[in-house]
Every structure is written in C-alpha cells, then in structure tokens.
C-alpha cells in the first residue's frame, strides 16, 4: 500500500470522525441545562476529543500526500478545498479552546464536512506541478491564504448561530427570508454532492466534441446526463441523452448542467425536508442554536475576523504579490482571482470599519460575516469555473 493510498484512507477516517464529533456536540447542546454544564459538558469533551483525532488524521492525510506527490497538496481543486476544510477544523479547535462553546462545533463541523464532500467530487489523483507552480511560494502563499480564509469562515459560523438564535421565526421578515435562503443554499451544496456522487458511482460519462469561444475544436466529458449542450456539440459516446438546448460558445454547457442538476436535487431535498419537519428549516435548526450565548457569538465573530484578517492579507495579497512578481513578472495583474482576493479583503476592511467606528454589532455584524463567507466561497467556486483567468489551473 503506497503513501497515496494511506493518505486517502486517513482522509476518510477524519471525515467519519467529524461526523461522529458533530453528533456529540449535538448531545452537548441538547443535554446542557445551565451555562456551566453547557461549557464543561462531558459530551462536549468527547466531541472535541474526536474532532482532534479527526484533525490529526486530516493532517496525516496532508503530510502523507505531500510526501507522495513531492509538493504541498494544494495544487488543484480537490487538494485546495480539502486543505481548506482541514484548516477550518483547525481554526475551530483553536476558537473552541479560547471560548469553550460546543454550539460552534455543532455548526462548524457540518460545514467542514460539506466542504470536504464537495472537494471529493473533483479528480483526486496527484498531479505533477506545471512550471508556473514550481515554487516554494505555492506552499507559502496557498497555505497562508487558506488559513486566513478558514479563520474568517469561523466568523461566519458564529454569525450564522447568532442569526439562527436571534431572528424571530414566528414573524414574517426579510431576515427570516434570507436565513431560510442560506439554509436552501446549503441544501443545494448537499444536492450537488449527492447527485454528483450518484452519477459517478453509476459510472456515467458522455463525451462531446464542440467548438469553443475562440472557434477552436475541443472535447468535453460530462459526468451528468447533459441538459445543456456545448456550442455545436456532437455526441461521441453512444446511448447518451440528447441535450435539451445547445448553448452559445461563451456559456459552458457542462457547468450549467451540473448546476441545474444540483439545483434540481437540492430543491427536492429541501421540499422533502420541509414536508417532513413541517417547519422552515431555519426554524427547525433554531433550537440547536438556542444554547449559544449571543454576546459570545458576536465576540467570536468579531475576534475571528481580527485573527483571520492579518493572516489573509499576508497570504492572499502580500505573498501572492511576491509570488506573482517571481512567476509572472508583475505583482498584480487584475486577474479575476486576484481581484476577488482584493474584494474579499476590501469587504472585511469595510466590516472592521463598520464595527469599529459605526458600532455595527449583533445582527448587522453577523450578516456581514455570513456574506464574507459567501464571497470566499464565490472566489473558490465561481471564479475558478466561470471567470477564466491565470488561476484556472485550479480546475
């Protein structure tokens, strides 16, 4: 059994560990009667212990894969997203020991699990580095940036808990709508993971030739039954479904197909869940957030931005600029990925100014934290797939 296989097994172990730990944190939140028992609950202690075991195997995955591939495993979508999930758990562990609040684990771990599940939908093989990536700055820049982003993500988790707890679900309001929308988006991610892994397990593949936007012939493989065809596409595999419509060259039919399938499965899931629980999903999970202390969540939200912001600046902007100067001869080139890193940075700068000088605390601050996470995810997902640029190797 090679190192690469050991690595894959370690990742599976940590995935399971996070699932189990989530259950224990759930028990800690449910079982707590008072502030004191909530903080030092034995369920919580078991939960954090299992989380740490999961985190250690996750780090084990990272190190063994590093050794196997000869470079830091952050060079493609699978590797980066998995590492991001790992750092998210790491950041959670750090914050847990500062504030000892099981509620955070109950929400942070499922998000980490979703991120890892999402990551494993991408090709998992170890890829050799193209010349542009052969630099120690790959390791330094990507790891620091991911670390910063993961700490910032904790602030969104705290914000989400704050909102779930403090939004009045019994009255119709804009906030109630949007928090439900956040729940819906989470269902979409689950929809993506479910549909993608189902078709992958079934071994579905449909190959097409098409003409790309620069009028060059290209070919593409769908892993979903194609709903949208590429520009002037011709099916190469027999017995595949005929696409409903053919898209113009600037739109990627495969991406849209994936999106629509995820939307479809995610929506079914959402409707089914609502029929089963007979409540809004946000209302359904609200009791899980009720134990959390609002003031504490607000502070965790703020504190994690404070901890994460300098790390993010260093990794995603300063190290990025130094490397860009070494590899591409310019420290800044307004490439979409760079611009979105700047946007993320500007957003958190605005967050800090609003909080420091204009007293945005509580719900405002929590919403901003959630939006910040959405921007980070946008940068990770959409910028790579929709807005092509120099960083599109991440595909």
């Amino acid at each position: 059994m090679g190192l690469a296989n050991i690595s894959a097994t370690l990742l599976e172990i940590s995935f399971i560990a996070y699932l189990v730990a989530t259950a224990f944190f759930g028990g800690a939140v449910k079982g707590a009667k008072s502030e004191a028992t909530y903080r030092n609950n034995k369920w919580g202690t078991i939960g954090i212990s299992i989380t740490i075991i999961g985190f250690l195997t996750h780090v084990g995955y990272f190190i063994t894969r590093w050794i196997a591939g000869g470079h830091a495993p952050v060079s493609n979508m699978f590797e980066f997203t998995t590492a991001f999930g790992m750092m998210l758990v790491g950041a959670f562990i750090l914050i847990f020991f500062l504030y000892r609040t099981p509620s955070l684990g109950l929400f942070a771990l499922p998000i980490a699990i979703l991120i890892i599940a999402y990551a494993s939908m991408f090709p998992k093989e170890v890829t050799p580095l193209i010349p542009a990536l052969q630099s120690h700055w790959l390791t330094i820049h990507v790891i620091t940036a991911a670390l910063g982003e993961s700490i910032l993500a904790i602030s969104a988790v705290a914000g989400l808990i704050y909102l779930l707890k403090n939004i009045d679900m019994s009255k119709k309001s804009r906030q109630r709508f949007w928090i439900e929308f956040v729940m819906f988006v989470i269902m979409l991610v689950i929809g993506f993971v479910l549909s993608s892994s189902t078709f992958k397990l079934a071994g579905y593949e449909a190959e097409f030739d098409y003409i790309d936007k620069n009028d060059k012939p290209a070919s593409i493989t769908y892993n979903y039954p194609p709903l949208f065809g590429m520009n002037e596409s011709v099916a190469k595999s027999p017995d595949t479904m005929k696409p409903w419509v053919e898209l113009p060259a600037i739109l990627n039919g495969k991406t849209l197909t994936t999106f629509v399938w995820s939307l479809f499965i995610g929506s079914i899931l959402y409707v089914l869940l609502r029929l089963i629980v007979r409540k809004r999903l946000a209302e359904f999970v609200q009791p899980l957030a009720k134990r959390a202390n609002s003031q504490l969540m607000d502070e965790i939200g703020y504190r994690s931005v404070l901890i994460g912001f300098p790390v993010f600046t260093l990794g995603a902007l300063i190290f990025a600029m130094i490397w860009a100067h070494e590899a591409w001869s310019r420290f800044w080139g307004w490439d979409p990925k760079e611009v979105w890193a700047l946007i993320t940075w500007l957003f958190y700068a605005a967050f800090l100014h609003l909080r420091l000088s204009r007293g945005w605390e509580g719900k405002n601050s929590a919403w901003l934290a959630v939006i910040g996470f959405i921007i980070i995810m946008f940068n990770l997902i959409f910028v790579n797939f929709i807005l092509a640029g120099l960083h599109s190797y991440a595909k």
Partner: protein
C-alpha cells in the same frame, strides 16, 4: 464657543463628548445614555470644529468613516464588475497593436449585446479607467484625512486621562460594578498587586486605581493606514519614467541581441527546452493524472549568456564583455542591475536553415547538397562537378507578387522563397529559378532544378523584462501595514478603574476596545484576589439570565 470647560476644570476642544481628564459626559446625549460610546475616548474629531469654507467641507467629507466605507464598497463593486468579462489585457485579440475597433469586435462577437455594452461603458479596461483611478485616489485621501483627524485627539486624550474618573463616567461603562467592601483600602492594595501580576500598568492615587495594558494597540489602525499610503505612493511613482520598465522580447536559439528595455545589455540564447512529465521519470503517483490529462509540462527553460557593453563603447559596436551564464526558468528570472528577465512564452520550430540539392531534371542526378542559413544566407554555393548555385534574392516571409516583384511581409522566415541562379558546366550561362515552399517558377523551361531536402528549425523564447524601482517601497508599505494590522488585531487596549466611593463603597469599571471575554477573565481574577464588588456586563443580558436560571434550578 470653541472650548468646553468641564466641571473638573479641564478645558476640552469643541465637540468633545467625554471630558478628556475626568471622563464626565459633556453632551446631553452622553449624559442620557446608559453605556457611553468610548470610540476615540469620546474626544472631538478635529474636523468637527470647523465647517465653514469649502475646503473645510471637503476635508470633513473625507474625514468621515461613513464616506470611507462607501468608497471601499464602491471600489469593491467596480472591481467585481471588471471580472465579469475578460479585461482588455486578457482579451485574445490577435494583433499586437490592436485597434479599439478590434477590441469592440471581439467583445461584440464573443459576448454579443452585453459585450458591446461592457466595451462601450469602458468596463473592458476598468482598472485603467480614469474613474477607477479617481476612486482609488479618493480612498487614499480618505485614509489620510480620516486618520490624521482621529489620531491626534485620541493621543491627547489618552495622554491626559486622570487616574480618578468621575462617577458618572464609571457608571456609564459597559462593565461596571459597585458595592460595599470590608476594607476598601486593603482591596485596593490587593487589586494593585493582582493587576501588576497581570502585566498592567497601574497608577494609584487619591483612592483610585487606573490599570492599563497594551495602549499601543490603539495605534495599530494608524500604522496600517500609513503602510497603505506608502504602498499607494509607490504605485503612483511608477508613472515617472525610469522607475518602471516593462518590455517583452523574442530571442531565437543562437541569436545574440540587445535586451529590450535594458540598453547596454545583451543576451545570447543557447538553447530552449520544453520538457514534459513522462511516466518513467515522474513519480509513480502521477501516472493516473497523466492518463487523464495527457502530457503535462514539467519545465520551460532558456539557457542564456548575458553580456554587457564594455565601458565606454558605443551601441552597435558589439564590443561586449561576458557577464554570466544562466538558465531562465519559470519562477526563476534572470536578475541583473535591477532588471528581471522572465521566461514567459515560447514558439517552437521556426525555420533556421534549409538544405537543398541541385538536380538535373532529366536524369535526377544530384550535384550535391547545400544549406542556406536563413538569418545569414550566402550569395554563392559551390557544388560538385563544377556546378554552383547563386542566391540572387531571398524573401523571408514570401507574400505573393505585388507590382511585378515578389514581396516579403516580414523579416521572419515563415515562408521563405528564393531566386536561384544555377550554373553547371553544361549551362555556363546559368538558369534562373524562383523557389518557394511547394512552388517553383521558371521563366523558361530549365534543365536543372533546386530541390528541397530538409530543414532545420530552432525555438524562440519569449521574455518579459522588468525593472521596478518601486518594489521596495511597495514592500515597505506592505510590511508597515502588516505591523499595524497585527498591533491592532492581536493585542487590545484594556483599562480597569477601581475607586473608593462614599462609605466603604468600591466602584469598578472596565473597558477594552475588543475582546471583552478576556478582559472579563482578568477582571474576575482581580475580583477574586481583592474582594471587589460584583460587576455586570450590560451588553450581555443572556449570561445574567442564565446565571439566575442556574441559581433557581
């Protein structure tokens, strides 16, 4: 009008909310509030004083954080719009000096209506547009003015703060407690010791304690703003000629040429290499990836020699001295005299030389082969048996016949064509022949022909040459920014006030700019060590409720 005198006797600038010295609320609003707003210590922003001339109004505009945040959001939104379609720089428009019409055509063709709109609105070159630059400039202005307006009063009021604060100040703090103590003086003494233990700066006078920690973290924002301004200043400097060089050049294997943008320096390309990963040499784990993706490039490399013009010699004299050999690889630019030469691009297999042979058409008999070096062809090629071929004309990039003569559209050997004069002992006068790729023209039927045998090719390396004197300024700005942001984020300014009230009472108040959780932990420790009265966090209603619940159950 311009000064406000507090009851304690201290004169405060106009606009002050809390007396700089004793902390008494000075405005009606502050007096009414339960918890007083401690941002900037309730000191007056400098700009609030004047609001008369137009200059003051502009100043005040930029001084506002609300305006600052609005500018940040505006930059954020415009930046985002700029990523919807590729920017001009990344648009795959073929010609080097493409015209605006070509760009418009590209956006129109690729993105139809929205592309045209994107072009027309100037979004296709967003980050170089005048209004984007104005936005960045406004951001810089706002950073400077808002910081200057706040840091001075903040510094003054932190410097002037008295140990003993007015009760009304204490009562309006977020963390406040009062109660009877068995021995207030002893409590104070113990508290002082406990606070010192926790690395607080403790001042005790007149039955009051002021314990303070990490005041420097309050300067963090101003330090990081300074860093940002230095960075923006560095970017501005690149507009000055000589501060910034950005050129590209192509160099062929074997060619010696001047380094574009770096007068006096020469490069000779010895070899260009393009290597791909193979399953044999690469680590075994890459096999799967190579199967799925096809070949993956491992290395782009140009081996070069750098020369420098000798001191005192003139351009063109080719009086060069050797500097060094280097292999330019992606991520490892060649560095000299402030310049960086980057491996950016390549073209494979440009024609270098062509080997031909002279043949008698009727017998297919060859008089031997000759090789034409395309970058320096010779006039005459002597062959076997007294035959020779003269090269009368050479067209590197043959583009048909215009006005009765063959023309070349560039000096690059993309499509070489030749006019030969073939002389043999049988035909001492010679025969003329025009030879291009896949084409031979003869004025009259010839007995001989020049036949293509083989060609040699060479690769071309594309380099980018940069010199950027502003880099160190930018780096300095970045470092200062990081120092500032770390100062402000990883430390927090904490203060604890303890004082004696009337008959055995002790008053406790505390404030921090962030991280109340840790402040409370420290305060709890002091409280336990010195029997201070219980305090309350007035923003945390839940813990109190929970504690009561806990007590009841």
């Amino acid at each position: 009008m311009s000064k406000i005198k507090c009851q304690c006797g201290h004169e405060n600038p106009f606009g002050t909310v809390l007396c700089e010295a004793c902390g008494r609320p000075l405005t009606e609003e502050a007096e009414k509030s339960q918890v007083v707003d401690m941002r900037y210590e309730g000191s007056a922003r400098r700009s609030q004083t004047y609001n008369k001339s137009i200059i003051d109004k502009i100043w005040n505009f930029f001084s506002s954080v609300k305006v600052g945040v609005s500018i940040i959001v505006a930059v954020l939104v415009t930046s985002a719009i700029g990523t919807i379609f590729p920017q001009k720089l990344y648009a795959p428009v073929t010609s080097v000096n493409a015209t605006d019409a070509e760009y418009l055509a590209y956006y129109e063709k690729t993105y139809s209506f929205f592309g045209t709109l994107y072009y027309k609105l100037g979004f296709y070159d967003m980050y170089n547009s005048w209004w984007f630059k104005i936005l960045i400039g406004m951001l810089g202005t706002s950073i400077i003015i808002a910081s200057v307006d706040r840091v001075v009063p903040l510094y003054k009021s932190l410097k002037k703060q008295r140990t003993k604060r007015h009760v009304s100040f204490m009562k309006r703090q977020r963390i406040f407690g009062e109660g009877k103590a068995a021995d207030p003086d002893e409590s104070l003494m113990k508290a002082e010791a406990a606070l010192k233990e926790m690395k607080y700066n403790v001042k005790m006078e007149d039955g009051a304690i002021l314990a303070e920690k990490n005041r420097f973290s309050r300067w963090g924002p101003y330090v990081n703003h300074t860093g940002l301004i230095i960075f923006l200043f560095g970017v501005l400097l690149r507009g000055i000629p000589g501060f910034y060089v950005d050129e590209t050049m192509w160099i062929r294997e074997g060619e010696l040429r001047n380094v574009t943008g770096a007068p006096g320096y020469f490069l000779k390309s010895k070899d260009f290499k393009l290597e791909t990963y193979t399953k044999e040499d690469a680590n075994a784990v890459f096999g799967e990836a190579l199967d799925r993706n096809g070949p993956i490039v491992k290395n782009f490399q140009t081996d070069v020699t750098l020369y420098k013009e000798k001191e005192g010699s003139l351009p063109g004299s080719e009086d060069l001295e050797y500097v060094k050999d280097y292999s330019i690889v992606v991520n490892k630019p060649l560095k000299f005299d402030g310049y960086n030469v980057f491996q950016m691009d390549y073209r494979l297999s440009e024609l270098k030389s062509m080997t031909m042979q002279l043949i008698e058409k009727s017998t297919d008999k060859s008089f031997g082969e000759f090789t034409i070096e395309l970058d320096d062809p010779k006039g005459t090629y002597e062959l076997d048996n007294g035959a020779k071929v003269e090269l009368l004309e050479y067209y590197a990039d043959y583009d048909g016949i215009k006005d009765g003569e063959p023309v070349s559209k560039s000096p690059i050997p993309n499509n070489p064509a030749f006019i030969f004069k073939m002389t043999t002992p049988e035909k001492p006068k010679g025969e003329k022949s025009f030879v291009a790729i896949q084409q031979t023209l003869e004025t009259e039927e010839n007995a001989y022909k020049v036949k293509f045998v083989s060609a040699d090719t060479r690769d071309i390396s594309g380099f980018t040459i940069r010199k950027d004197k502003t880099l160190y300024i930018l780096l300095l700005g970045g470092i200062i920014f990081m120092i500032g942001v770390i100062m402000g984020s990883y430390w927090n300014h904490r203060r604890i006030w303890i004082q004696k009230g009337a008959d055995q009472q002790l008053l406790v108040a505390a404030h921090t700019n962030k991280n109340w959780f840790s402040l409370k932990k420290e305060l709890n420790a002091v409280k336990d060590a010195s029997e201070l009265p219980a305090y309350m966090d007035r923003q945390d209603k839940e813990s109190k409720d929970e504690r009561q619940e806990g007590a009841e159950s």
